[in-house]
């Protein structure tokens, strides 16, 4: 089953491009470390999922590129075509000249309805190219105007047009100290709207990825391309084919459906965080070895202590003892020491993956009380290694990971809203103060649901 990717805005298009790059280079990777048959099966599944066949033999990414100004799309299309390994369908893009001006209201209320038909036509065409459609994967940022505003609108349209398909939104959270001044408003508006139409939101924070680049990958002058490559690597490690059950012979054919089934048992809880280890620069990789017990232990502690990367994990944090009264739970304003999960998914790739013991993740203390730990935890495996990592482990978690970041964003947006700054820019395009209040209310609801886990 195939996944159609919708890339929205500058961020979405830049990241989407890196994701396909990462997938393609993994596809061609010769370090598969598994049997030839296994490798072929993997490649076959990967191809079906992300690319369609073209007469020229160069795989064509199943993607629709959307942006309100032309520069980024034309750059993305040409870079992909030049790579030689894959390319985009040059018909599958939609762009305008004017840009959205970082204005969510402009993207949502003006550009969205105006261009709805054109964009949905493109999506329909891509969907028809698939033998079986698993669902949609949208890539966007929250801070700008197109990715956020138009992204929210397009997600709604996708939901209306394809009610039976899954929609996973990959959302990029901006740097805390500002890439865009009205980013908090845009974020609040986007998240509250996405919550209604999307199945799950997979979040990447620019601050966290920046730290990974600086400390783990040792990049001196970090560019957005470096950040995007890390994000692409993390996404690739989740979406490349895996076996989703023990003893399965064939690769899972429904990646998005399986993901939702494992991780989103309740529609109130849709925020997913992603961690991937190990992550390091290619030079260091050649000199490092990993053991599964070590990786699993680190990943588990990253989950419990809410660490964003493998360095600086707080080992003091322990899961609470069973039988502790509920009043011990922290309020969202103080960072909870222990990160309670609703559901977790661990994805393991590489050598000796069959023998890995993930019992530590099945501990009931990690989870909320209203879900059986057997149901709350899933593991997917494949012996085929990902990119150049002999062993790699990814964690997709529906937990309190994003509680504090979300709280920060809502707080700042509320602060600005109280003085009514910039609101006239939004009312100009049809988003009124009541709309803002509705969005704030919706997000406060999400925050308190997560806080009370």
């Amino acid at each position: 089953m195939s996944v159609v990717t919708v890339q929205l805005g500058q961020c979405g298009n830049q990241i989407g491009h890196e994701v396909f790059n990462a997938i393609c280079s993994d596809f061609h990777s010769t370090h598969g470390l598994c049997s030839k048959k296994e490798n072929e099966s993997y490649q076959e599944a990967c191809k079906e999922r992300f690319f369609s066949e073209e007469k020229t033999g160069v795989p064509v990414a199943r993607a629709v590129l959307v942006d309100m100004e032309p520069k980024v799309i034309s750059q993305t299309l040409s870079m992909a075509a030049r790579s030689g390994c894959w390319k985009y369908d040059h018909q599958s893009h939609f762009c305008q000249k004017q840009g959205s001006g970082n204005n969510w209201a402009n993207g949502y209320s003006v550009h969205g309805p105006r261009h709805k038909d054109a964009i949905m036509n493109l999506v329909q065409k891509e969907a028809e190219k698939c033998d079986r459609l698993s669902g949609f994967f949208t890539v966007m940022s929250m801070a700008g105007g197109t990715g956020s505003g138009m992204g929210a609108f397009v997600t709604q349209c996708l939901r209306d047009a394809f009610p039976a398909s899954f929609i996973l939104n990959q959302v990029v959270w901006p740097y805390g100290t500002g890439e865009v001044i009205v980013q908090n408003y845009n974020s609040v508006l986007t998240l509250s709207h996405l919550y209604q139409s999307s199945d799950a939101l997979l979040v990447h924070e620019n601050d966290a990825i920046h730290k990974i680049c600086a400390q783990l990958m040792n990049i001196k002058q970090i560019s957005f391309r470096d950040v995007n490559r890390v994000i692409a690597h993390q996404l690739g490690s989740v979406f490349q084919p895996t076996h989703t059950s023990e003893g399965a012979v064939r690769y899972s054919r429904n990646p998005l459906g399986d993901l939702m089934e494992s991780l989103v048992p309740h529609p109130e809880f849709k925020m997913l965080g992603l961690r991937n280890i190990p992550q390091m620069s290619e030079n260091s990789l050649a000199y490092s070895t990993f053991t599964w017990p070590g990786l699993i232990k680190h990943l588990r502690q990253m989950l419990i202590a809410n660490a964003k990367m493998e360095e600086g994990i707080n080992w003091q944090v322990r899961p609470p003892l069973p039988g502790l009264p509920v009043s011990q739970k922290c309020s969202p304003s103080r960072a909870p020491h222990f990160n309670t999960s609703i559901a977790n998914l661990v994805i393991l790739r590489g050598k000796d993956v069959q023998s890995v013991d993930v019992g530590g993740f099945r501990d009931a203390a990690l989870y909320t009380s209203w879900l059986n730990p057997q149901d709350a935890f899933n593991v997917w495996k494949t012996p085929r290694a990902f990119n150049k990592y002999e062993k790699s482990a990814a964690l997709v978690s529906n937990s309190q990971f994003l509680l504090k970041p979300l709280d920060d964003i809502v707080g700042k947006a509320w602060n600005m809203f109280a003085s009514k700054a910039y609101v006239h820019q939004y009312t100009k395009f049809g988003i009124e103060e009541e709309d803002f209040l509705d969005c704030f209310t919706a997000l406060e609801q999400v925050l308190s649901s997560y806080a009370s886990l």
């Binding site: 001006g101 890439e179 809502v410």
Partner: protein, 458 residues
């Protein structure tokens, strides 16, 4: 005129093959002048003849004629000019009311024609002075027209404010009357003061002629230089200063014309830097002013560029943003600068700047990969800052000095359509603006109380 010269220079540096591309199309049309009439627009392929998307308006012919006889004459179409013979006599009323009515049809028609040649019109740049008659009077009239005819297109105004020792006696009147129009009809105003431009020019002059470092300054990197442009003849007195403003406009639009990893369009500038409709005056600064011929650029120099952008010597008006309250700040970086450098500098400079309580992290950033001619990187900082208040207050004082004595008033009141009430409205509009800035300043040192969040019943 300087702007077009430098724009051509910049595009020539980037566009090696002479192909008319997207970047050029933002400011120029590619016209096949061999055909009659308007000339057919050519969208791709080689450059035939570039025509600026511009309208030149002046009520006396001297300056425009000179341009038309100079090397840039091919860039301007005779259909893009509106001139008259006698000038406006440094009288806002003559420019606004008299010539405005007279030329309204003409102006609208020419604007429409220029706009029709554009695929997608994003914004208008109005460049004028505040102290004279035509620029200030007719200029603000044109602003009105733009708002009426093209309400959805952003209007960016670059206004040159008169300095204290300005030689035009009625400049305070003209400026205040024009301010009212700017308050109401412009989306964004970039005030510039001649005094600041002059200071920057002197500083550069000092640097290049002081012997020590003089010989190592790359000539065409001077922010004030026209080197490499078309004009090779005797430079005019205001040229150096005007080059600075031209560079300002180029940098402002660079991200819209060239690629980069974090694009910043013009409508984004308005969106992010104008929190309340009245407060749309932005203080600008450009760095670096020159590049040394030294090729290696240690990151210290990069950081120095950021620090300089906030120093009061680099601002284009006489103001000190560091000691006033910031409402918002935008940094547009060009050249080989990455996001980590940007972040590092923001972190470094933040503690020394005061931001308003509801916008503590009010930074907007843009990264464009193409550097300006002669530099490897550059920075344009735009700030919405209460330090514009003193400029306005001085303007008001100078106005009141004349108004109290009713000096020169009769020249204005003679003009049809001009009444005493125009003056009182204008001054009250300016007073209101100053008051708004005052209120923000008052909140400056105060304790920060966050408003209580919404509570959800579980």
């Amino acid at each position: 005129c300087r702007f077009w010269d430098l724009a051509l220079r910049e595009h020539a540096a980037v566009n090696q093959k002479g192909i008319y591309d997207e970047a050029l199309s933002s400011f120029f049309r590619n016209v096949d002048t061999r055909t009659d009439g308007d000339g057919i627009d050519i969208y791709r392929g080689k450059i035939c003849s570039l025509k600026a998307r511009a309208l030149l308006i002046d009520m006396e012919e001297g300056v425009v004629n000179e341009i038309l006889q100079g090397p840039l004459r091919d860039v301007f179409d005779s259909k893009q000019l509106i001139t008259d013979v006698s000038g406006s006599g440094n009288n806002w009323a003559v420019g606004h009311k008299l010539y405005g009515c007279q030329y309204r049809e003409n102006i609208v028609e020419k604007l429409r024609r220029t706009a029709e040649h554009c695929d997608c019109l994003q914004c208008f740049f109005v460049i004028h002075s505040m102290g004279g008659g035509t620029g200030s009077g007719l200029g603000t009239f044109v602003l009105n027209v733009l708002k009426d005819e093209f309400p959805e297109v952003y209007r960016f105004v670059t206004s040159v404010y008169p300095s204290g020792e300005d030689d035009v006696v009625t400049s305070p009147y003209n400026s205040v009357l024009a301010m009212k129009e700017l308050n109401e009809h412009a989306d964004c105003v970039l005030p510039i003061e001649n005094e600041s431009l002059f200071n920057i020019v002197s500083k550069i002059h000092q640097m290049t002629n002081s012997g020590k470092l003089g010989s190592t300054v790359k000539q065409n990197s001077l922010i004030t230089s026209s080197a490499g442009g078309i004009r090779t003849d005797q430079a005019k007195p205001f040229d150096a200063m005007n080059n600075i403003v031209a560079n300002l406009l180029l940098n402002l639009t660079s991200s819209a014309r060239f690629e980069g990893s974090l694009n910043m369009d013009l409508n984004e500038i308005s969106m992010n830097l104008v929190p309340f409709p009245q407060l749309h005056y932005l203080v600008s600064s450009l760095t670096p002013l020159y590049t040394l011929a030294d090729v290696n650029v240690p990151s210290r120099r990069l950081d120095q560029m950021f620090s300089d952008a906030f120093s009061k010597d680099h601002q284009l008006i006489q103001a000190d943003p560091k000691h006033s309250l910031y409402l918002a700040c935008a940094l547009l970086v060009r050249g080989n600068v990455q996001v980590s450098d940007l972040r590092r500098n923001i972190e470094r400079l933040k503690p020394s700047l005061q931001f308003v309580s509801w916008n503590q992290e009010g930074w907007k950033t843009g990264l464009c990969s193409v550097p300006p001619v002669g530099h490897s990187h550059s920075l344009l900082a735009l700030a919405n800052n209460t330090c514009v208040k003193p400029t306005f207050m001085e303007l008001k004082d100078r106005f009141m000095k004349l108004y109290k004595k009713k000096a020169h008033l009769h020249h204005y009141l003679h003009v049809d359509g001009m009444e005493q009430s125009c003056f009182s409205e204008a001054i009250s509009s300016l007073t209101d603006l100053i008051e708004e800035y005052n209120q923000l300043d008052v909140s400056k040192g105060g304790p920060r109380t966050d408003p209580p969040r919404l509570k959800i019943a579980m």
